[in-house]
Each structure stands twice: as structure tokens, then as C-alpha cells.
Amino acid sequence: MKEGKRVIAHCTQPIGDMAGTWANETEDNYGYYQYGDYDMSHTGDPRQDMEYERHYASQSYIVPEVIKNFLLHFQQVIKEQNLVEIQNNYENGFNKLTDRFFKTSAWPSAKVIAPIVGNEERFLILYNELFFRHVYARVSSGPSLDQRFDSYYNYCSLFNYILNAEGPVPLELPDQWLWDIIDEFIYQFQAFSIFRHKSSNKKTEDDIELLRTNPKIWNVHSVLNVLHSLVEKSNINKQLEVYTSGGDPDSVAGEFGQHSLYKMLGYFSLVGLLRLHSLLGDYYQALKVLENIDFNKKSLYSRVPACQITTFYYVGFAYMMMRRYQDAIRTLSNILLYIQRTKTMFQNRTQLYDQISKMNDKMYTLLSICLVLHPMRIDESVHSHLREKYQEKMNRMQKGEMAEFEACFAFACPKFLSPVPPNYDLMGANAPQHKEPFQLQLLVFKEEVEQQIQVPTIRSYLKLYTTLPIAKLAAFMDMSDDELCTHLMCFKHKMKNLVWIKGTSGLEGEFQSASEVDFYIDKDMIHIADTKVARRYGDFFIRQFHKFDEIMRSLKAT
């Protein structure tokens, strides 16, 4: 373990420096590199340590030949910068061997494989990235505290290598991998935040002591700093600006930004910031960081499906929280349609497929919440799936059942987190601290829903009439005329949303009411405007034509 540690330790320093010269000055515990006296190879738990030794001491673990060959080949193609082969090893080779040898156990540690790959630092960092990601995803006991720490150091090494070089580093990786790096980096930060807030019996006294004395590891400032640094280094915002106006992004990209590695990491970091801000409940910043991305349009940056889906999920969610239902509905149905059309492409990539399916369900749930609150027409095929799978939930929400709103929200929302360490002294007390951030977002959501809980009932009455005296509706609703007028104004206020019209900034927009049922009051009379939709046949026939045409052609071919 010693060697691996040395590499990591000396690399970590600069990112700590960047993490905020100010932070180091203001508070001592903002420093990021005071972990030297902590021996990372020991957990303090003898039983665990023994297991660790047994598994990883190189003399007792012999790396199978096939793994050796794989690693050497992998190393070779990265050295040669053969992108196609890197991608092949990354997406197929690694996963196949995982299924064969390491379904639920960890790959050999970097220390074990170091002699095989000639101690090449860069390869070992990249290997570690895969190693820890696999530990998080597949190893049944999950990552140990040490592994959480080590993985953090490994990310520091990786980002320091990329960011602190004098010129662009000679490395290119497939877009998918680069996306996965950013995605995993935030995921592990999220997992760590939740872990340290959780008062589970899995954490020993020593663990808590370690967490207490190492507040800089997986600190929110360092994570933000990495993402901001990648954004700045790549000039990605300027590049996107020029790209949207039809110019050549390379003209403003600068020395680093012209390289695909920096450009893509910069772009993915923007999406990473969107996610991070959302997890902290900062929806304004979440949308603001995407200011220069025209995500309503396909672009050369949108080739990684998982990134696309993540982007739209968080944007849709932010819009929902901001009571911009129309925008949320548009965003979510766009991506759901995209998933519907492309889903078969991922069928043979199990992990990705599972991930996408999960997001798919979450987004349908969000969409059903939004459509209950703000009924409007959406794409026919998305709508029919919704009717099939979510009709019951929607009915319950329509009836004003708060429990259903709550359940849907809890299922579909991101895993919110707190940016600060918990009060370790209160660990195990009644209030589960890791739930706090979720409770807050749920509270805000619920209060919003409660404020408009009468709207669906009023709407259902309005739908039946073209004109309706105020007094009559008040009698239906069992309230005074004045009270009803208040509810009608509330209806109007809640249904008039800011709606995005044009430009790349998702924060801008103008007020519109596009809900199915609209009305106005003239003296004592409510005048109602409904939306009547004629049945659509054309689409159905066109699809049938195409189908038959396909059949005919394949018949002819045989």
C-alpha cells in the first residue's frame, strides 16, 4: 500500500491549494492536506484488517493470466491513444472480466497490479478510478471508510494530473468514460455525505473519530472547486456561446479547451454542477450554470445518452420545484420520448440499461405530478404510457391525496444532501440527520401543493360549463362567494407560469397560462374556455403504413 499512497499523497496537495486560498486563510480546518499521519492501510478494526491483508497481500493473491493480459493491453492502447480500443476495453473488456471474476468482490488493488504495468502512475490512477467505482457498484459490503477516502485521493490525483499540467496533457478518453468520471465523482461525494450523516451501527467509534478528524475529505468546497476548475480551464462557457451563435468554438477555446479531454470534461462539469446544486436545493444556480447550453437542440456535446438524461432529469426537477410546470412538462416529455426511441440501443449494456430504466420511471413520476398540477397536452406516445402505468397514482393525486403526492415525490426526487458534516455527538439520536435535506425539499413541495389543492376540484366543475355564476359554483364548493373568488385568484396565480420562450438561458421566460381549462370573471359570472381536442387519426395511419411497408419489403427480400 505504501507506494500507492505516496503517489496519491503528493498529488493531492495542489488541489487543496486551489480549493480556496481564502478558505485556508479563514479557517484552519479548511486545509486539505493534513492527513499525512493517518495510515490509510489500516482501519483500526483487527478483523477487517486481517481480511484486508489476506486479500491484498501480493504474495497470497495471484493475478490470473487473463487479467494480466487485459491490463497490459488496456495500458498499451491508452499509451497509443487508440480511442476505439480504449472504448472497447472500457465498455466490454472490463465488464466481461468483472462478470467472470469479480461479480461481487473487488478487483485486485492498484498495489497488486502496479508491478504488472511497470508502476505507470497515470495508468494506475485510471485503473483506480475503475477499481473504486466497481467497489461502490458491485462489492456487496460496499466501500469501507478507507476506500471512500482512497477513492477521494485518487480523484484528486486524476484531476491534479489534468489541471495542473503546464500544457494540455497528452490523453484522450472516450466521452462515455469522461462522463462517468464526473458522474461518479459526484455520486461518491453524495454517497459520502449521506454515509457520514447516517447513524448506522455499521460505523464504529473509530470511524466516527476518523470522520471527525478529516473534515476536508470529500469536502463540498473541493468538489465544487474541481468542477469549477474544469469549467474554467476548458473555457467551455465561451465555447458554447460561440457554438450557439454559429461560430467555431475552437476560436475561443484556448490552449487547453481545444483538446477533447478538456472540452468534454468542461461540458460534463457543467452538468455535474447542475446536479450538485440540485442536490443542495439550489435550483437557481442549477439552471444558471447551464446558461450557455441550448439543451433544446441536439448538439455535438449531447452524444452521451446518460449525460443527456441526467441533464433533463435535473432541469425538469428544478422547473417543477420552481412552479414552472409547463417547462418541466416540456423538458421531461422531451427526454422520455428520446428514451422511448433509443432504449433498445442500450439493451445489451445491462448496467446502463438499468440506470436508464430507473431514471425513466422517476421522470414519468415527476411528469405525472406536473400534469396533475398543470394539465396540458403532451406527446401522444408519452401520454399513452403514462395512462397505462400511472393513471391510478394520478387519480389519487387529482383527488387531493397528499400521501400520494408525498410518495411520488420521495420516489422521484434526487438524493438531497447536506454540505456540512453532521453533529457527530448527536449520532444515533432520534432525528436521523441524513434525512434533513430531503425533509426540507419535501416540505417546500408539499406546502406548494397544499396551496393549490383546491385547483383540481374547481377545474373539474369549470370543465362542465361555458358560463357559470359565481354564486352557483360557491354553492357547489360549499363556501362563500368571497372565499371562492380568493380560490379563483389563487387558481389563476398558480396556473400562470413563467415559460421559457427563446435563448439558451433556462431561467428566462415570460408568464403564460396554457393550462387546459382557463376562465375569467366578468361581474358575477365566470366565463370558461376549455381546450377541445379532436381525435387524431393521421399519426396512427401513417405509422401503420410504415409498418406494412416494412413487412412488404422484408417479404420481398426473402
Binding site: 478558505a23 472547486n225 443542495l280 420545484m321 389563476k492 396565480h493 376549455d530
Partner: protein, 216 residues
Amino acid sequence: MAEAMQATVASLLKGIDRYNPENLQTLERYVAMQASENTYDLEANLAVLKLYQFNPSMYQTGVTATVLLKALTNLPNSDFILCKCLIETGRLGEEPVAKVLKLAEFLETAHFQDFWLALMEDPDLLIGILGFEDSIRKFVCHVVASTYQTIRKDKLRILLGNISDAQTSQWISKYGWREQQDGYVFVTTQDENIKTKNITEKISFDSVAAIMASGR
């Protein structure tokens, strides 16, 4: 002053420096300035709340309450929600923040009369916030304008906070509404914007072109 400050603050909010707790004092001063000079900067105010979120020991209830009250002046925008999402649950129950939350609920549900009553009970809440009431009246007018074609002048007067008849007339003329003989105020011709929509199917030539080609 606040305008001059805006540029300075904007530079403080660039990149990673946004999270620098050393800027907090400046930003808090800027919040107070917005209140006393009736200007508004959502992004800066959110940055304050974010710094509180990252540094809970620096939290100040008074500043938070001001930020929230200022967010109300920007209704019908959902700024208030954006702010609320950044404040710890435990803090939401503290005064005066809890009172502001109550006010917000009245406004969000169009219970304007209750809003003005609650405000009367706590006049201290608004100390140092210039133009708050008029900002709320703008919001009331916004909701009225989207709900009514005609509204009783007396009702409008109450919604605007039980102001005098003359003041009501001022608001009416400000928005170009018209007082009628029968005690009603004509707001706008709603039937031009709000009418039943019939969505019928339109099939474009492009979508059938492929079929026609294959049918040759």
C-alpha cells in the same frame, strides 16, 4: 448606491469565489441596501443563503427574513420558493422568519385581505424595507388583471390593503383600467385571450411524402 454595489457584488459571485465566507459581510450589507433603496438582486441574496448553508454558524435570522421579504416583492416570480429551499428546516420556525412564511402563504393563495391584516399586526416586520407594500399591490394587480374582466371597485380597494378611494383610483389609472358608472372597474377584454381552443389534427405534406413515395 445599491446600483454601484451591484457590479462589485457580481464580481464576488464569479466562479468558486461565490462560496468564500469572507464575502458574507459585504453581501449582507448589500441585502440591507436593497431593502432601504428598494432595489432587488435575487442572485446575490441566494448567495447569502448558500453561504449560511455552507457555514451554519454564520447564520443570521434577521438577514434571512429580509431576503425572504424581498423575495415576496418579486411575486409572481417563484423567488420565495428558491430561497426557502436553502434554509434549514429548523430555522424556518424561528421568528421573524416564521411570520414571513405566513405572509407568503397568504399571498400565494391570494388571501390578500388576511395578508394585510397580518401585516397590520406586525408593523415592525417591515422596518427598513422601502416600497414593500406597493410591490405587493403590484402583485395584487397582476392577479386581478389575469382573473377579472370587471371587478367591483370596492373589492379592489380591499384587496389592495384597504386603501382610500382616491388611492385606488390612482392604481386603476396606473394600469390603464377604467372606472365605470356602476361601481365596477373595467380591467381588460379577457374574451380575446381566453377562449375555447379547438385543436384539430393537421397533417403536413412532409409526413405523408414518404408514404406516397413508397406507394408508387
